[in-house]
Every structure is written in structure tokens, then in C-alpha cells.
């Protein structure tokens, strides 16, 4: 069975995916994960998770292209440029 291993480098930091170990059960996964990701002082904590327990999502449907819902904001600059071109006005100097 494959287990995914997440490690925390310093207290307070987010755990990050470190890699995986293959082990016949949880006990072996515990020992192998310590061996490979913990015993040389490189981690303050590990999460060891059976890969099957991870809900993987890698398809993101956005058929109507409603990217203005995204947290990275609404890309205004390109639209503004196009609008200015249609109107025949140049952008203010500072905006170029």
C-alpha cells in the first residue's frame, strides 16, 4: 500500500508533501516514514496518510469562464485596453 508523507520543517509551518512510502500496513508506514523523512532532525512532525484516503481533485470545470469568481481577482487591464482602443483614446501616460 502507498502512503503519502507530509512533513513540517519547523513548528508553526504548514506541512508540505514530502514524498511517499510503500508499506504493508500502518505500523510499517510509521517506521518507514520516520526512517526516510524524520530521523535526521529534518522534520518536527509528519503526517502519514494512505493514498486511498486522499480525495484527489484535478478537474475544474469552468465552462462559462466565470473567472471573476476567482480569488485572484478580475483581470481588468486587458479589457480596459480593448475598450480604449475601441474608443480611440490613448491610455494615460502613467498607465502604459
Amino acid at each position: 500500500m502507498i502512503y503519502e508523507v507530509f512533513r513540517q520543517e519547523r513548528k508553526g509551518q504548514a506541512l508540505q508533501h514530502a514524498g511517499s512510502v510503500e508499506a504493508p500496513d500502518d505500523h510499517f508506514a510509521d517506521v518507514y516514514a520516520r526512517e526516510q523523512y524524520g530521523r535526521r532532525g529534518e522534520s518536527t512532525a509528519l503526517w502519514v496518510v494512505p493514498r486511498d484516503a486522499v480525495i484527489e481533485i484535478d478537474e475544474f470545470v469552468d465552462e462559462l469562464n466565470r473567472n471573476y469568481h476567482r480569488v485572484d481577482g478580475y483581470p481588468l487591464k486587458q479589457k480596459l485596453k480593448e475598450a480604449r482602443e475601441r474608443a480611440g483614446t490613448a491610455a494615460p501616460a502613467g498607465d502604459r
Partner: protein
């Protein structure tokens, strides 16, 4: 450090070197790839412990760890019988690992209480790594403890813990031949 203490450290160092060497024979052929990595790492730790112990004795005797490790005759080694055997069955290797770690833990507890701060300090350092070895041995013990082939191996090997350190088997001679072949290929005192 008196002669008796040096002898004890040499016994432990020889155990760790020879067992580390034997364990390393599983590199690339362990039953699980992950185990290959883990067991090879244990083998390497043991040889590292041997080096540190040899260095303490070498300082007392005005020699070097390399000379103690490689330039003695097979008959001069003080390793226990259980460490030197070539065990090609995984269950026997794990049985030895389990028995050895148990005995090694008791020995390290004594060393940690040594009056010599260098010895006690090194024992404490070694023990921090051995904790992982014990965890690993226990994991395998729990998995195999109900398997007849494993319990038979434990019963067979346990008496070897007390088999003495004066006589060695042919298997140590063979190991020594391989272990020292490169070093013996050049005259003594060669700079490597």
C-alpha cells in the same frame, strides 16, 4: 580507560562492524524495496557506531580506528557468534536483528552509566539511533511473531548470544577476506 574497559568497547565495536557488514549484504535484495532502504540505513548506522567506538579505543592505544577495524587477524576479533553468521533467510536475519537489538539495549544502558564521560556520551548518542533500530525490529517481530519459521529462527539463534567471543566460525574468516581485501592489496601504511 583501563584494559578491561577497552576490551568491552572493542567487543561492541566488533559486533557493530561485523553485524553492519552482514546487514549490508541485504542491500538491493531485501524482500521489499522500502525495507531495502531502511535496513541498509541500519547497516550503515552500525558501521558508524563501530567507527566511533574504535576511535575511543584507538586514542588510548595510539593507533587508528581503521587499523583496529581492518588490520587485525580474524582470530583477534571479539565479535559475538550471532553477529558473524551469514544468514540468507530473511526470517533469520530479522530474528538476529531482534535478539541483537535487545541485548545491545541492555549493554548501552550500562555504558551510559560509565564514569568516563566520553564513553557515556557516545553511548547516549548511539542509543538515540538504536531507538530507531529497536522500533524497526519490534515492527518486524510483531509481524512475524506467529510464524513458525520465525519463532524457530529465534529459538535457534538465541543461544548464540552467549556463545562466547574467543572462537569464531569459518564464516568470519570469509567475511574478513572480503572486508579487508582492498586494504590488503597495498602495503601497510599506504595512503588511500
Amino acid at each position: 580507560m583501563n584494559e578491561q574497559e577497552q576490551q568491552l568497547l572493542l567487543e561492541i565495536a566488533d559486533d557493530e562492524l561485523i553485524l553492519g557488514w552482514r546487514d549490508s549484504e541485504w542491500t538491493g535484495i531485501a524482500p521489499l524495496l522500502e525495507e531495502d532502504v531502511a535496513f541498509s540505513s541500519i547497516a550503515q548506522n552500525e558501521i558508524g557506531h563501530a567507527r566511533a567506538l574504535y576511535e575511543l579505543v584507538a586514542r588510548e592505544r595510539g593507533t587508528t580506528a581503521d587499523e583496529l577495524a581492518f588490520d587485525r587477524a580474524p582470530s583477534e576479533y571479539r565479535c559475538a557468534r550471532i553477529a558473524e553468521l551469514r544468514l540468507l533467510d530473511w526470517e533469520k536475519t530479522i530474528a538476529r536483528h531482534y535478539l541483537y537489538e535487545e541485548a545491545d539495549a541492555r549493554r548501552l544502558e550500562q555504558l551510559k552509566a560509565s564514569d568516563d564521560p566520553d564513553v557515556a556520551g557516545l553511548a547516549a548518542k548511539i542509543d538515540r539511533e538504536e531507538a530507531y533500530h529497536r522500533m524497526h525490529a519490534q515492527m518486524w517481530f510483531d509481524r512475524l511473531k506467529d510464524e513458525a519459521r520465525f519463532t524457530a529462527a529465534v529459538d535457534e539463534l538465541r543461544p548464540l548470544l552467549d556463545a562466547g567471543r574467543d572462537d569464531h566460525t569459518q564464516e568470519l574468516d570469509e567475511l574478513w577476506e572480503e572486508m579487508t581485501v582492498v586494504r590488503r592489496s597495498q602495503p601497510a601504511g599506504t595512503t588511500w
